[in-house]
């Protein structure tokens, strides 16, 4: 289990390696607000429940019927139903807007594609969201560093500098030897 955890948090981070939510992280890292926690909890709940439900449908219905190509559609239907329902509950109780589609849906597809057991289907989205959350303080620090060394009104090259910083982080994680994460290597 630790190998999956390390792999999806560091070396195959959902933001750095797959590029899911790379735009969103750069936007959110500007101002990390208190509603972010609610956003993450909601995403976590909707993603994991959708992944598990879709995984069960795939295993029990689509695979026996040889209709596995339908899995993105089923995942979409389940995800929309769940996320909208949770969003309504949040809006009614707290009136905070936590709606989000692209990152959650792509994470579900990634988890479904890369999981081989039901436990994997729970751990992978968990790690994906953890990697998304972990990159935020790093990007925030990079942003603050860029701000402190440059003129206040010079906004022209800020995005480029953030993207270059991200590229360097990706390079740092990509050069590591991760063959030891393969369970077959250790024995």
């Amino acid at each position: 289990m630790i190998n999956i955890f390390l792999y999806y948090i560091l070396y195959a981070s959902v933001v750095l390696f797959y590029g899911i939510g790379i735009n969103r992280t750069t936007v959110i890292s500007r101002t990390i607000t208190s509603t972010l926690a609610l956003n993450i909890i909601k995403s976590l709940f909707s993603i994991i429940s959708s992944t598990v439900l879709t995984w069960l449908v795939i295993e029990d219905l689509l695979v026996p019927l040889n209709l596995t190509e339908l899995y993105p559609f089923i995942a979409l239907l389940i995800f929309i139903s769940l996320t909208v329902f949770i969003e309504i509950l949040i809006r009614i109780t707290t009136e905070i807007n936590t709606s989000e589609f692209a990152i959650s849906y792509l994470t579900i597809l990634l988890s479904l594609n890369e999981s081989s057991t039901l436990i994997d289907a729970i751990i992978i989205p968990l790690c994906c969201i953890a990697s998304f959350v972990l990159i935020l303080p790093v990007l925030y620090a990079v942003r603050m560093r860029i701000d402190s060394t440059r003129l206040r009104n010079d906004k022209t090259k800020k995005k480029s500098l953030i993207m270059i910083s991200l590229a360097i982080i990706i390079l740092i994680t990509a050069i590591c030897d991760i063959t030891w994460l393969n369970p077959g290597v250790l024995p």
Binding site: V27, L65, L67, L77, I80, S81, V84, E87, I88
Partner: protein, 199 residues
Amino acid sequence: MILKYILLVLLILVLALVLFFMFSVLFPAMKAQSFPVDNLLFSDIELYYVIPDEVPIVKTGKFAVVLCSPGKKFEKKRLYYQRGQTCALINELYESLNDCKYSCIGLGDCENSCSQEAIIIENGTAVITQQCTGCGQCISVCPKHIIKLFSEGTEKCTLCNIVDNSIPSCSDCGKEQNIPVRQKKGFKIWQLCYRILNR
């Protein structure tokens, strides 16, 4: 096997019914009780980046008319339509594709400049549709200077811009005609797609 097919269809039906219930019954009911139920699926950032804003329509009380008849016919044609050329280039090099040097070249410089996408090309001639707001962006783009603004309600005018004594082989030369009114066809979903692609 058949049972599994039935189960799958039932699952899809149930999910579709749940979505239908939420989007057509629950949300309107919540809206009626002033709950904030806008954008439940997409965040503001996603909507802002994916779907660009619609160009605001500001009516000026005028509309543009191309002073060249779309129903014209020429006995002689100097050049044939060359794909990829622009009206400005043809005007600079050959003056006109037709026998008349005041006629519309019809390669769509005005069509490309129109933010409302209100210009269509018909029979090698630009025609303004009802979507025109009279903003006048196309006037400066036309190398022939044959687009003019008219007040709303004008029905007839001379769809010809000849200012000298030349006599071209145009069938509609110098004739006063009804201003062509065209309804641009198109579905809103395609307009949205084009907005996204042209972003």
